[in-house]
């Protein structure tokens, strides 16, 4: 998560004097995001927004890879704040890991694939592929930017895989094992097969067109009958090949649509291909009449071009198993007790854990399985499940969920559920289930196709009937011509083209979209559910309010800083960071210090002062007097959803700080704009009701539209209920794993930046630029896309109608058909890609 500047409105409410944020902000030398005033250091030529960016910057400079910044500037890339994990990746050196993922490379050495987080731009490609300069023995590193997969070839004698992993983690591309290999392989095979089809279709269409040129030429001059027959037979042969090989995609699609009784563009296409091909063959055998193989094979080719474009803008979602694996650690420390009672700690693979096993979780580690704490106390970051940034305190007897992160203490855990049966496992199954069940969206083009197929077939029947007196073959001739010229070729190209242009332009503005249909779904206003923490708010704890009473502000807070300096508690760390940023330093170390877990600290200084920092209960327990004025303030802060830290010196409480999560500055204008457009906005949060309502009030959301204290399962149920009871589009905006199931179940799931991997997988849209502002861009784009789509469909239908009318009148021969088709496709292509896309300029 990036450390964005402190929210100003919360600070304005504080009673203390506080330096206002300067109007202009310096940009971080690494990620170019604004540098918070508190961190700007005027003595340095480079400024950084966070320590992550700073270390990455120095690492890149010292490796002689400065050109990265140059490239980024030239390419005008969007950048992200540095995110390194400081993990050691030792598990990647295990024989077990190597057996699974590492293969010998063709040119000597070994190779493996790593899935990288945070690769997003051309400059990233450059930096990642220069891995060999940072890690010894790496001969090649190739990145696939689209998939975020790097293929590394290295000499195992020179470096371990963990060295390579750390080499990638350093410049903030944390690597992960290449799970989901089977799925990527399937995607790859599918893509290759589609390309082969396209290549064959193009070859056949081109050659048939050349032969047809000769035939058309022969129509005006003299052509020996034997040559004409020969050309017709070759044309028929290649044409049948084109229909049977690349063209089978459409027959298959049409058959699937007929079986499920849905309307799909493949149906009219298959009808035209089948009838045209059949009649063409009969005419070839008869040696007279028109053959349409040039148009038919061109149709197959152009439609496949459309499908290929569509393929490239779609990304596939992960399976539930991959998601669980990505959130739980690969190794766990199991404690085995032998008969004599001696304990041994063994590092085992997480998948080999069973219920009733005892595991040890050290500070900062991820909990490997659901279980109950047997020994130890710590704080656990459960934001994965709750979405709330404040760690919860755990003691013996508390239940923990896999995937949550242990804080400073060491814990012993009796395993209750593992893998699929753990809470996170069940949740991810719901994510996968919800994505699979989601009602298929009937795209505009397919709805048009439904009407279209009926109209064309009726028109063909009428044509046959009307021309019947002129002879059966003439009648069938004209009907076939009608079917071919009105084949929805441009229609099939229009949607993928418009969507792919729109997706490309949106991607450049920081909005990544999984499939074009999302834009169609969002075109009409509906209900927008939104998460609170991390979505509407910054998602991190910070000091919003700080007052002193009776003692000077500087003195009381510098004593508090000194007392808390050694604490690992999240609240203490937040307070210390805040004080340091405000220029208040700890003057000296306490001579005596003790910390009571879950309550606070008690410190004594050389000057004789006794300082207490902690909860209100801690103050009362230690006999410190709480002034009424501060109590009022604390009630106030509580009503706004803040948690409070109290400071007492020498038996009297003299300071109070309110900690909370600040609302994103862009949230209110964005929500207001959505509301103006007719969207209904509702908040679903795992947080406490008072905190949720305070934030909602700040954003102009009615308390009745806020649902608080929801589990991830509750969120899923709420959006499902809404989705089944309304025809309107239901959208879920969120960031965490706790929103993932709900995001997968609604019409459109939107994930904000900084969210968890699982939510990105479940979402249809990922807002790559920070905050919720990209939402506005997206919503404006949907209307622009809708207009453009209607225009393209209109033009292509007009072509079909005109050509169809001419065919009914018996005016269309194969030559006219061959000219009309590419013309209509070309004009649709031009409209889709050129001209004023108002919202997406």
């Amino acid at each position: 998560m990036s450390s964005a500047p402190t929210n100003a409105s919360g600070l304005a409410a504080a009673a203390t004097t506080f330096a206002a944020e300067p109007a202009e902000k310096t940009a971080c030398a690494h990620c170019a995001l604004p540098v918070p005033t508190s961190l700007s250091d005027s003595g340095q030529p480079e400024q950084f927004c966070c320590s992550g960016c700073k270390s990455v910057y120095h690492l890149i400079r010292s490796s002689g890879l400065d050109r990265y910044y140059e490239l980024r500037e030239q390419l005008d890339d969007r950048s992200e704040s540095a995110r390194t994990t400081a993990e050691r990746y030792d598990e990647m050196n295990d024989a077990e890991y190597h057996a699974l993922f590492v293969k010998p490379a063709a040119g000597g050495g070994v190779e493996t694939e790593l899935i990288l987080e945070g690769v997003h731009c051309p400059a990233c490609v450059w930096l990642v592929e220069r891995l060999g300069r940072v890690v010894d023995g790496v001969s090649e590193c190739r990145l696939n930017l689209r998939l975020g997969v790097a293929t590394v070839t290295w000499d195992p004698a020179a470096s371990n895989l963990s060295d390579i992993a750390r080499g990638l983690d350093g410049p903030s591309y944390p690597p992960h094992p290449p799970r989901g290999e089977a799925r990527r392989e399937a995607m790859r095979a599918e893509g290759r097969a589609a390309l082969v089809n396209l290549g064959v279709a193009g070859f056949l269409a081109g050659n048939i067109m050349l032969i047809s040129m000769a035939l058309y030429g022969g129509m005006f001059g003299s052509m020996a009958d034997e040559h004409r027959t020969m050309f017709r037979w070759v044309s028929a042969g290649l044409g049948v090949l084109s229909l049977a090989w690349p063209g089978r995609t459409f027959f298959r699609g049409a058959w699937a649509a007929i079986r499920t009784r849905s309307s799909h563009l493949d149906v009219p296409i298959a009808v035209a291909l089948a009838l045209g091909g059949f009649w063409g063959l009969i005419n070839t055998v008869r040696g007279t009449g028109e053959i349409y193989f040039d148009s038919l094979s061109m149709l197959v080719f152009l439609l496949l071009v459309g499908r290929t474009i569509q393929r490239y803008q779609q990304r596939k979602a992960s399976s539930a198993v991959d998601l669980i694996c990505s959130m739980t650690p690969t190794r766990a420390r199991r404690i085995d007790t032998d008969n004599a009672g001696a304990e041994t700690t063994l590092s085992v693979s997480t998948s080999s854990l069973h219920a009733a096993d005892l595991v040890e979780v050290r500070a900062g580690e991820i909990i490997p399985a659901d279980g109950v704490v047997e020994r130890g106390e710590s704080t656990v970051d459960a934001s994965l499940l709750t979405g709330e940034p404040l760690p919860v305190e755990v003691r013996t007897g508390d239940t923990l969920a896999a995937g949550t992160v242990n804080g400073p203490g060491m814990l012993r855990l009796r395993v209750s559920e593992v893998g699929d049966n753990s809470r996170i496992g069940r949740l991810m199954q719901q994510v996968a289930g919800a994505s699979a069940e989601r009602s298929a969206w009937v795209q505009l083009a397919d709805r048009v196709a439904g009407v279209f197929v009926v109209v064309v077939l009726v028109a063909a029947a009428i044509t046959t009937w009307a021309w019947w007196p002129a002879g059966a073959d003439v009648a069938i001739e004209h009907a076939t011509a009608l079917l071919i010229v009105s084949c929805p070729c441009a229609l099939g190209l229009a949607t993928p083209l418009v969507m792919s242009v729109a997706c490309g332009r949106l991607a450049r503005r920081g909005v990544l979209i999984k499939g074009g249909d999302v834009l169609e779904r969002l075109a009409k206003p509906g209900v927008l559910f939104t998460d609170k923490t991390g979505t509407l708010t910054e998602g991190s704890l910070r000091v919003l309010d700080r007052i002193s009473h009776g003692v000077s502000d500087d003195r009381i807070w510098s004593l508090a800083a000194a007392a808390e300096a050694k604490s690992n508690h999240a609240v203490a760390r937040t307070l210390i960071d805040h004080l340091a940023a405000a220029g208040i330093d700890a003057p000296c170390e306490p001579t005596e210090l003790h910390e009571v877990f879950g309550k606070g600290v008690d410190a004594t200084f050389a000057g004789g002062e006794r300082v207490l920092v902690g909860s209100r209960t801690w103050m009362l327990e230690q006999g410190a007097a709480v002034p009424a004025k501060l109590d009022d303030r604390a009630d106030d802060a509580g009503a706004r959803g803040q948690s409070t830290v109290w400071v007492a010196v020498d038996g009297a409480v003299a300071g109070l700080a309110g900690l909370g999560d600040a609302v994103r500055t862009d949230a209110k204008p964005q929500l207001d704009a959505l509301r103006d457009r007719g969207w209904e906005i509702r908040v679903l949060t795992g947080d406490r009701r008072d905190a949720a309502e305070a934030i909602a009030a700040e954003l102009g959301i009615e308390a009745s539209d806020v649902e608080a204290e929801l589990s991830p399962e509750d969120k899923l149920e709420r959006v499902r209920t809404m989705a089944t009871s309304t025809d309107r589009t239901v959208v879920m905006l969120g960031d965490g794993v706790n929103d993932a199931a709900a995001m997968a179940a609604v019409d459109v799931g939107i994930a904000v930046r900084g969210g968890a991997e699982a939510s990105l997988e479940a979402a249809d849209v990922y807002l790559q630029a920070p905050g919720v502002s990209p939402l506005g861009t997206l919503m404006r784009a949907t209307r622009s896309v809708r207009r453009r789509l209607v225009l393209c469909l209109g033009v292509s239908i007009s072509y079909n109608a005109l050509a169809g009318a001419a065919a009914i009148a018996g005016l269309v021969g194969p030559l006219t058909a061959a000219v009309i088709m590419p013309m209509s496709s070309l004009s649709v292509l031009t409209i889709a890609s050129l001209g004023a896309w108002k919202a997406l300029k």
Partner: protein
């Protein structure tokens, strides 16, 4: 005349067919799996 035409037709189809074969082989070998990154890589006309 017919003979020439047949020969030309066959030659043309064979030439085109060999190009298709090349595309099919390249596609199966994964040459076209990633259409995005190589275009970017070409921009870095640098150094090593």
């Amino acid at each position: 005349m017919t003979g020439v035409l047949i020969v030309m037709l066959v030659v043309a189809l064979l030439l085109g067919g060999s190009a298709v074969l090349a595309v099919v082989l390249m596609a199966r070998r994964g040459q076209f799996d990633d259409l995005e990154t190589p275009a970017i890589r070409a921009v870095f006309d640098d150094d090593d």
